[in-house]
Symmetry: C2
Subunit: 321 residues, 2 copies
Amino acid sequence: MPDSGPIFERITLIGVGLIGSSIARAVRAKGAARTIVATARSAKTRERVRELKIADQVAETNAAAVKNADLVIVSIPVGASGEVAKEIASSLKAGAIVSDAGSVKSAVIKEMAPHLPKNVHFVPAHPVAGTEFSGPDAGFAELFENRWCILTPPAGTEQTAVERLKLFWETIGANVEVMDAEHHDLVLAITSHLPHLIAYNIVGTAADLETHTRSEVIKFSAGGFRDFTRIAASDPTMWRDIFLHNRDAVLEILSRFNKDLDALVNAIKAGDGQTLFDTFTRTRAIRKSIIEVGQDTAEPDFGRRQGTGEEVAIPRPYASD
Amino acid sequence: MPDSGPIFERITLIGVGLIGSSIARAVRAKGAARTIVATARSAKTRERVRELKIADQVAETNAAAVKNADLVIVSIPVGASGEVAKEIASSLKAGAIVSDAGSVKSAVIKEMAPHLPKNVHFVPAHPVAGTEFSGPDAGFAELFENRWCILTPPAGTEQTAVERLKLFWETIGANVEVMDAEHHDLVLAITSHLPHLIAYNIVGTAADLETHTRSEVIKFSAGGFRDFTRIAASDPTMWRDIFLHNRDAVLEILSRFNKDLDALVNAIKAGDGQTLFDTFTRTRAIRKSIIEVGQDTAEPDFGRRQGTGEEVAIPRPYASD
């Protein structure tokens, strides 16, 4: 944390959903910028941001919002980012850093970069953090604590701009990694996009069941299904855009997934218990690694409180394995 | 809760893992039986159960354990249940209720029923509850609170025995539903078995990646993947047996899942955003229903504390939808 004051004089947040509103809250909590300007496409969201008082100013348009900003972060469904770049291009201050928070990076670069003037620094970013909730009320200042933020500066980006954005994200709690946009898109296809596709799909399959069975699925969801429904409750517009804009990487990972699934299914059909056992044993090690690097809680069932209104204390270490 | 004293004089738990040890703890907490006898296949587990003092007696063999028991609950991987039925058959008390806690019911009935004497009541059961942890240390008395326990008595089972087992499960916190074993196996194939197969598979796909990418997957797992790793950390022996013993229902549900996935993939390939948006919107309703019926917490991210050792407070209602 710099004692030397805020990292940016004036930052502008375009889009104030879960991510944008969490950035606003975190920036204020950490003093990472002197002035926070926010804007959103809908009048309702802008009004809500005013009520929540999470920004110093709320602007009516994207172009007005970015005036004099030192950092602009676009946190909207990725399909809309090209249009926003076009809208703000002529209002950006020379030397400003323009960034985003999209879950897909190659497509965002392709869609935003051509519109941006040469005298700004374009440093795309993806904070790997979130919940299944959406909108300005869903954000919280701690969202990025101990989470990763991946920067994917295009070739030729000025290193000082990358360093400054890195310091910004570190100041609001994140760990920062810099990588190539294509590599980002492949890694995230595995860690995020395919899991969401699968979760949406399995919940969709259940939604299509006839009414009686569907109500039983809801009733007996504690056997594993309910976890998928949390992921499948994520924002539909955001996820529509992710799949449309990271198509190739998602399809590539999906084909590996299908090949592996065929092998598991063949083992089930053949009564090959050893293959099943071996697969199910290997996967446990990945879970342990994730807990060891601090990317998930070690508490059983995520430390989840049962849906009874009561809090049930279930702290326990890994047992017997 | 009956004021009239314990429901069973003497209950025997064969298998003292997560489920068996939770039953032991819940029975003692609620006074549901006067005497709890436990046994386990391994000497190490029996010793641990003695140390934990969660049973009144620890028996060395299954046959010895069931002597004079009014209720016997077999909580072991379902593949071993036929063998256990054979071992205990000649030691069971006339009029005893024999039950289990297996996640598959048709196969358990097929494997246990032929060995059991005519003068006992066989009432198979499946408490739909658990965590990703295993072993006697993983259990806790509240595991069954507000969870469902499904009873699947074969045709001709005496109703009084079913009612008594129902009262037992209700006493230790569960809601009870009675259904046909085949129907149970189909519903659980959707709510539990397919989700586990998919989770094991996707984590397995990640485990097969080359070392560098795998470490990135672990690092950036907060985007969704980490949820799957929790499920894929479940007990390998238990799950091997479930897939081998509920093969037909799992394959039936899997074929529906694959058909739906093909449709989603075709929408991605065709750039058909509307189909994606519609699917992702429908699935949100299922999540809400699950929370409404109290089968999951409404807190974002399961109320999960980030893996930092700190507790991060993030209570918030469903926002903006």
